[in-house]
C-alpha cells in the first residue's frame, strides 16, 4: 500500500503517544495493541482510496485521544485482572498505571493504599498479640490536653504510660476479621471505581 509521508507520520506520532501511556502493561500486550491499532487506522483511512492526511485524521478522531484510549485499556485491564485473580498486589500494580494517567486514578490509588495498609496492620496486630500479650493491641492513650487518642500497637515497644488496652484477647478475632474484611472491601471499592470510570467514558 502506498501511503503519503505526512499520513504515515501522523499515525506513528499517535501510536508513540499511545505506547508511552500504556507503559506498565505487559510489553507483549502493548506491542499487540499497537500493531492492531495501526492496522485499524490504515483500514479505516483507506476505505475510500489511498490513505492521506485528512483520512488519517478522521480515523484518529474516531478513536479518541491517545491518552483517553490508554486509560480505557488500563481500566479494562484492571477489571479483567480482578476477575481472574483478586490479589491485592496485582490490583495495586494496575492502579499505579491508572494513577499516572488521571486524577481519578490517583485518588483511587491513595484510598486503596490506606485501606490495604490499615487492613494489613489490624491483621498483623492480631498475629502478634500472642507474642506480646501485654503490649500489642488497640490502646486508648490520654494526652496532656485532656483529649485521648487511639493507637494500634504491635507490641514491640513498652506499654504507653496511662494508656489502657481496649480489646484484650478479643484483639485476635477482631483483628483477623476486620483486617481481612477491610482488604476485601478496599478491593471491591477499587473495582467499583474502575467500573464507574469505564461507564463514564465509554461511548459518546
Amino acid at each position: 500500500m502506498n501511503i503519503a509521508n505526512d499520513a504515515q507520520q501522523k499515525i506513528e506520532a499517535y501510536l508513540t503517544r499511545l505506547r508511552r501511556n500504556l507503559r506498565g502493561l505487559r510489553a507483549a500486550e502493548v506491542d499487540e495493541i499497537i500493531v492492531e491499532l495501526r492496522s485499524h487506522i490504515l483500514d479505516k483511512a483507506s476505505a475510500e482510496g489511498e490513505p492521506n492526511a485528512a483520512s488519517v485524521d478522521a480515523a484518529l478522531r474516531r478513536l479518541g485521544s491517545a491518552e483517553e484510549l490508554a486509560a480505557a485499556y488500563i481500566t479494562e485491564s484492571i477489571l479483567a485482572q480482578a476477575e481472574v485473580s483478586r490479589s491485592p498486589w496485582r490490583i495495586l500494580g494496575s492502579l499505579f498505571r491508572w494513577a499516572t494517567l488521571s486524577v481519578s486514578g490517583f485518588a483511587v490509588l491513595v484510598a486503596c493504599i490506606v485501606g490495604y495498609s490499615l487492613g494489613a496492620a489490624l491483621f498483623l496486630c492480631a498475629i502478634l498479640k500472642p507474642l506480646h500479650p501485654q503490649t500489642a493491641g488497640l490502646w486508648v492513650i490520654p494526652s496532656n490536653t485532656g483529649d485521648w487518642g487511639l493507637s494500634l500497637r504491635m507490641g514491640f515497644a513498652s506499654a504507653p504510660a496511662n494508656g489502657h488496652e481496649l480489646l484484650g484477647w478479643w484483639m485476635i478475632p477482631a483483628g483477623l476479621i476486620l483486617g481481612t474484611g477491610l482488604v476485601l472491601l478496599t478491593t471491591r471499592f477499587v473495582l467499583w471505581c474502575a467500573r464507574k470510570y469505564r461507564q463514564s467514558r465509554a461511548l459518546p
Binding site: M1, E29, E32, I33, V35, E36, L37, R38, S39, H40, L42, D43, K44, S46, R62, L63, G64, E68, L69, A72, Y73, T75, E76, S77, L79, A80, Q81, E83, V84, Q199, R201, A202, L203, P204
Partner: protein
C-alpha cells in the same frame, strides 16, 4: 445485565435524563453485542464495528471496542489470531472460546427473558401513545 437493570431504575423525567438513560442502556448492551457479533465466526476489530453498525443501530465509539475486546480476551472468552491481509498489514481476528460461547448463550437467555417481560409491561404504553 446489572447495568441494564440499574438503567431501568434510573429516573427519566426530563428529556435530558431520557437521553442519558439511552446511553447507559447502550453501554450495558455493548459486551453482549460484541460477543453476539462473533457467534457465527471470526472477525477482526473493524469488521466487528461494522457488524454492530449495520445489524443494529448501536453507534459505537471505536475507542471503546478495542479495550473491551482486550478485556474479553484476558477473561478467556475470546482468543485471537493474526492473519496476513491483502492490504499488506496483519489483522487480528477474534474467535469465541468454548467459555465465550457459553457466556454468550447465558447472556442471550437472560436478555430474552428480560426483554419479553419488558415488552409485556410496555404493551399498554405503546398502545396508549
Amino acid at each position: 445485565m446489572y447495568c441494564i437493570v440499574s438503567c431501568v431504575n434510573a429516573p427519566s423525567t426530563q428529556n435530558d435524563s431520557a437521553e442519558k438513560w439511552e446511553v447507559q442502556l447502550r453501554k450495558g448492551c455493548l459486551e453482549l453485542a460484541v460477543l453476539a457479533a462473533l457467534w457465527s465466526g471470526s472477525l477482526y476489530g473493524l469488521e466487528i464495528l461494522r457488524r454492530l453498525e449495520s445489524d443494529s443501530d448501536l453507534v459505537v465509539s471505536e475507542g471503546t471496542v478495542y479495550p473491551l475486546l482486550s478485556r474479553l480476551k484476558t477473561l478467556g472468552l475470546l482468543r485471537s489470531e493474526w492473519v496476513e491481509s491483502d492490504a499488506g498489514h496483519p489483522r487480528k481476528y477474534y474467535v469465541l472460546t468454548p467459555a465465550g460461547k457459553k457466556r454468550t448463550a447465558e447472556m442471550a437467555a437472560v436478555w430474552e427473558r428480560f426483554s419479553s417481560s419488558m415488552s409485556k409491561l410496555l404493551a399498554p404504553v405503546s398502545k396508549g401513545r
